[in-house]
């Protein structure tokens, strides 16, 4: 039986927020969170009872975030060059702040590719749609990012790493 929608917000609100933050600025992430849950609320009566609600929500969240990113690309911010500096995306985690600092210090494309792939769970083709270029280039950027992390963050475990 389908739980009350409030249960989904309770269980998955945090995960959806993190997915949005990984892809967007803090302000845009909150808007994407709201749009995600409104769209989900609208469609919820039609969701099959046995569906994985959290996976469904994350899929909607990624789509909403990609929409925002594409809209931003059509209206570029008035700066000539994006500096390759740590960004304000996300906030360091309490337990593993060092790893996050290492991620934040990656060159922009690598950082985004790593975050979109490993945290938001996007496929390389989707990442290519956001970053521009081919999905092969997105895969290489993520691989270079992971290689850099291994070098700069020796504490990182190696299991679960892509080959």
């Amino acid at each position: 039986m389908k739980p009350p929608f409030e249960k989904l917000v309770e269980r998955s609100g945090g995960v959806v927020l993190r997915v949005c933050r990984v892809m967007l600025s803090a302000h845009d992430a909150e808007d994407a969170w709201s749009e995600t849950f409104l769209a989900a609320l609208r469609a919820y009566p039609e969701l099959p009872d046995d569906a994985n609600a959290e996976a469904w929500l994350v899929t909607i969240a990624r789509r909403k975030a990609i929409d925002v990113l594409r809209a931003r690309k059509r209206q570029p911010a008035p700066i000539g060059e994006v500096p390759e500096a740590p960004t304000t995306l996300g906030v360091p985690g309490a337990e593993d702040g060092d790893l996050w600092q290492a991620v934040a210090a990656l060159p922009d494309k690598q950082r985004q590719a790593v975050a979109y792939h490993y945290v938001a769970g996007l496929a390389y083709a989707e990442i290519a749609g956001i970053l521009g270029g081919t999905s092969g280039a997105a895969r290489r950027a993520a691989a270079d990012g992971v290689k850099n992390l291994r070098k700069n963050y020796p504490g990182a475990a190696t299991e679960g790493a892509p080959s």
Partner: protein, 199 residues
């Protein structure tokens, strides 16, 4: 490397999420997506869950009914578009507060009676005719609804009242004067009767 979404958690997530959830309730209401809004309020008879559809207050539930269970039933019987959104319950919460403070004798907010049907709903519609501070027996109520032999069915109608306190099934007693059963437990029923007798 073992990255997970936890690396993007922050200590003020709880605050952000609570703000976003408030905003979601308002937006859902504005877009006509809030089929069932609910909140919980404290009362002298324990925490009460209040739920409303766009038509009116649809459910008042005692703690002993298990609020999670009540919400699941609302989700199944009315709509799964259920959100904690206190604003729609503001009037109900205020009237209950006045009632428990001895400053209100009659509830006059819109009710959604869609959780009851047939004879049960008919009986429940008659319950407000028993005035504040008064009591009737199940037999007298059966007469009031024009079906004097339906004492048992009247009892069932009272026991399944989805809007206790607001629709005063607590004012119906057994013929021997004992309080009889109550959806919120007999001590809650006695507390309401004492409150009304004292005011």
């Amino acid at each position: 490397m073992n990255m997970s979404a936890n690396h993007f958690a922050s200590p003020d997530d709880a605050e952000t999420l609570s703000r976003l959830r408030d905003r979601l309730g308002l937006a859902a209401e504005a877009q006509g997506l809030l089929d069932v809004a609910y909140t919980t309020v404290d009362s002298p008879v324990g925490p009460l869950l209040l739920a409303a559809t766009p038509h009116g207050l649809v459910r008042v539930a005692y703690d002993v009914e298990d609020h999670d269970q009540v919400l699941s039933t609302l989700s199944r019987r009315i709509s799964p578009r259920v959100l904690r959104a206190p604003r729609r319950l503001d009037v109900a919460a205020r009237e209950l507060d006045e009632y428990f403070g001895g400053r209100r004798r009659v509830f006059d907010l819109p009710l959604d009676r869609s959780l009851s049907a047939g004879f049960r709903q008919l009986v429940q519609r008659h319950l407000p005719e028993i005035e504040y501070g008064q009591t009737r027996t199940y037999g007298q109520l059966a007469q009031l609804v024009g079906n004097p032999r339906a004492v048992r069915a009247v009892g069932t109608a009272c026991a399944t009242n989805p809007l206790p306190v607001v629709v005063p099934c607590h004012r119906v007693l057994r013929a021997d004067g004992s309080v009889g059963g109550y959806i919120g437990g007999s001590s809650a029923k006695q507390a309401l009767l004492r409150l009304e007798a004292a005011a």
